[in-house]
């Protein structure tokens, strides 16, 4: 079902346009990697603060509230450029093993962030200044590991089938 949708997508003018242009495809990769510095480059600092490895003089809420808008902006840019890269060759990307792993990791990271925000982060006022509680530290560690793995699998999509 998804495969037939990918085949349909491949016939559209957007897909053909990106595929056939010599500069749109490299530009999309540039945009994808540069916006990663916005997204990965900000979320890791919240994760590092939660885990207890960095920014120990800052409140958790200060780091989260001030950096997450940048993370979201980066996410929007990454999703847009990533979706367009996918559109350029949907059938190939659909069958990519590493892209599937990457998608699973994205859901894991998203689910982890959602759980964090609606559970342990609600009580952030109690542990804002010091060491985060075990659940928050675990959430930070899961996020850190999954984002690193997402960057690695993302690059692997370009190299291996």
């Amino acid at each position: 079902m998804i495969l037939s949708w990918c085949e349909w997508l491949m016939e559209t003018w957007v897909s053909a346009g990106i595929r056939e242009s010599i500069w749109v495809y490299p530009m999309l990769h540039w945009a994808h990697i540069l916006s990663n510095t916005l997204m990965f480059g900000t979320i890791i600092f919240l994760d590092l603060r939660l885990v207890g490895l960095g920014l120990s003089r800052r409140r958790v809420s200060d780091v989260a509230e001030q950096l997450l808008p940048w993370t979201w902006l980066g996410w929007i840019l990454m999703f847009t450029s990533g979706a367009l890269i996918f559109t350029s060759d949907p059938v190939r990307y659909y069958s990519s093993f590493f892209l599937r792993i990457k998608m699973i990791l994205m859901f894991l990271a998203g689910f982890n962030a959602l759980v964090f925000h609606f559970t342990v982060y609600r009580g952030v006022a109690l542990w804002d200044d010091g060491r985060a509680p075990i659940l928050a530290r675990m959430s930070g560690a899961i996020s850190l590991i999954s984002w690193i793995a997402i960057v690695i699998t993302g690059r692997a999509v370009g190299y291996f089938d």
């Binding site: 990769h29 990697i33 540069l34 900000t42 600092f45 590092l48 800052r58 950096l67 690695i152």
Partner: protein, 154 residues
């Protein structure tokens, strides 16, 4: 520059990288992770000069917080970058010498400017002079990243 390219290209490291199927992608992944860490820390610090991002902290506080991460990112990116260069040096010399030289030049300027101009301005909370310095710094860092990424599409 020819001896420079030859030195790295003909090194054991370059030889080993070219003979392995996984070495180049593996070092590229490490290099990209370092890039995220590096430009993330640079962006957060520089944006603060314009009153953006972590504005509840002063720029001198951010310089203190992010210094170890910028350093760690450079410690990841420089060795992995050398390995990637050693692998591709012969091709780069023949096909995109200028692209690589430009990248090397921009990285050198960015690092020097960061530690000799930007960090002192950040430590003294000098926002007036810091704004143009931060604009220049961002331009050079992202220019270096784009020059580096264009080598990938060789």
């Amino acid at each position: 520059m020819k001896p420079f390219f030859d030195f790295f290209g003909e090194s054991t490291l370059g030889e080993w990288m070219r003979n392995s199927r996984y070495a180049f992608p593996a070092f590229e992944m490490v290099h990209l992770l370092g890039l995220g860490l590096l430009l993330g820390s640079i962006l957060i610090l520089n944006a603060r000069f314009f009153g953006l991002g972590m504005r509840r902290q002063s720029v001198s506080e951010l310089a203190y917080d992010f210094a170890p991460w910028t350093r760690l990112a450079l410690a990841i990116m420089i060795p992995s970058g050398i390995a990637l260069f050693a692998s591709k040096a012969p091709d780069l010399w023949n096909e995109d010498r200028f692209g690589f030289e430009l990248k090397l030049f921009l990285v050198a300027v960015a690092i020097l400017f960061h530690y000799t101009v930007l960090i002192p301005l950040a430590r003294s909370d000098n926002y007036r002079r810091g704004k143009p310095a931060a604009a220049f710094s961002l331009l050079v860092w992202f220019g270096a990243a784009m020059a580096g990424l264009s080598l990938e599409f060789l």
